[in-house]
Symmetry: C2
Subunit: 335 residues, 2 copies
Amino acid sequence: MCSLPVPREPLRRVAVTGGTHGNEMSGVYLARHWLHAPAELQRASFSAVPVLANPAATSSCRRYVDHDLNRTFTSSFLKLTETVKIGVPHSRLHSSRPTPDDPYEVTRARELNQLLGPKASGRAFDFVLDLHNTTANMGTCLIAKSSHEVFAMHLCRHLQLQYPELSCQVFLYQRSGEESYNLDSVAKNGLGLELGPQPQGVLRADIFSRMRTLVATVLDFIELFNQGTAFPAFEMEAYRPVGVVDFPRTEAGNLAGTVHPQLQDRDFQPLQPGAPIFQMFSGEDLLYEGESTVYPVFINEAAYYEKGVAFVQTEKFTFTVPAMPALTPAPSPAS
Amino acid sequence: MCSLPVPREPLRRVAVTGGTHGNEMSGVYLARHWLHAPAELQRASFSAVPVLANPAATSSCRRYVDHDLNRTFTSSFLKLTETVKIGVPHSRLHSSRPTPDDPYEVTRARELNQLLGPKASGRAFDFVLDLHNTTANMGTCLIAKSSHEVFAMHLCRHLQLQYPELSCQVFLYQRSGEESYNLDSVAKNGLGLELGPQPQGVLRADIFSRMRTLVATVLDFIELFNQGTAFPAFEMEAYRPVGVVDFPRTEAGNLAGTVHPQLQDRDFQPLQPGAPIFQMFSGEDLLYEGESTVYPVFINEAAYYEKGVAFVQTEKFTFTVPAMPALTPAPSPAS
């Protein structure tokens, strides 16, 4: 397994982004709070920057205005030139000039790419932590790009060890050959926190507190790393997508049934072939006809109805995360 | 206590309305289903008409487009003339001509008033059942205008007796001197079903099934009445609003805290003076400073953030509902 290099210098440029989806309220209100009281994001070796990622969507309490911001950080939306991909120095990167016709989130993604990136450049932020909620019963879910993200995997492990009672699950979203598209992908390292269940537009104190605690522990972990802590290799269990399943629909595209009570709220639990997955309005059950056990996630997530996703099928797999050695102290001027 | 007259003829013009709020999915999908399969709403003495109340809001999965439809059925929005109030025959009622500047929901309210009303006229529908969901933990809540609605109170009693396991609570929303404003107020008799918790934009099978069962039982009750069943007097316990409490807010109007974990999800449970109601982002608790016990409802309802309502304070009270005599058979032509 090819792994990305681990950071060889302290992570000093760190951001915590909330309101990437404007109706996921834990991150919205944490970001707003920290913009007025940033001391909570300060550590000895760095201060994390709070960012309200999608102010317009947040103002109207919608997921997005024109386009899902967290799907917009690709080269085509950011209009990075091809030079990005072939290793030409980042000083030659440029973004196209904005036009009034650009969807709001495309413009905003470019702004965030300027602020926190540019993506895939040596100038990008060292770490972005992006805060999300889901209406699904996902509990505490840690979302990273892939198992190759060694720093993020050690961070996930740290959170799992710190909070065994939260049963933090690791979801690796990037499918083979797919370009990364989400906000934290603009930074050199990133992680998404996905806490649920919480309705859109509702701020629950329990989930707000849990997110706040997790953010503090993420920053503590970065501080540990910056201070020279080494982290040994370990075995990680994670989930990765293998497909999506849409709702049963009428010819007009309306729902013809919904998630079966025996599947509802069972995110990360095994779904066996033959088990019911949908209850039709006509009364009958639809069964899972796959050939192997899958682990559904984002079951009945409100935002995914329009995407044609009743749940995401994942497979569970295990892999070895290599050790992350302690930072080498910078050579003293005399040496 | 002055009670409205009970119906003296069978209820034949009955409607079931869903999607009055376009992101409350149980009613949206029940209405859509029944529009294609209306037989479920048929009884021996009548057929209930399914109505998708707010098609535009439903299409975009929002509560409303321009204005909360379920606050729009007042004389000023419907532009009924003053003659309504002084008892001039309904033939002299008229609605103003629509203009393109009218908010969508005002236009739609007038259409629904034409279809199901006109409000306060002898031509109005006999009964409208309006279907809602809430993000609050309201369980099964039956919403009527006031204790004076004798037919609706007997219906509530019937539902309570049929489904003791649902602990159906009765909420009487109309405050003293306040004009009725909601959709079912256009009919001669009406009731709202408010089932929760369910996130906006999510269709949970359990709540969908519960609502469908309750609707069937409402229609069965109307059928019982139409067939000549008498209903004895009884004592009813219900909740009525005595005030609303907003979230703690910053000077800019943003939240400064949210509903306390000890209050969250405890709709219809007594709140004692001195109990915590909000948890501030600064960490401190805000306590309930009222002088008497209240029963909060709509606790942390997503749609009420913009209305400045963190919860509605109610008081519990008991009253006698008079007997509802059996319909007198129509005199035969020979008598």
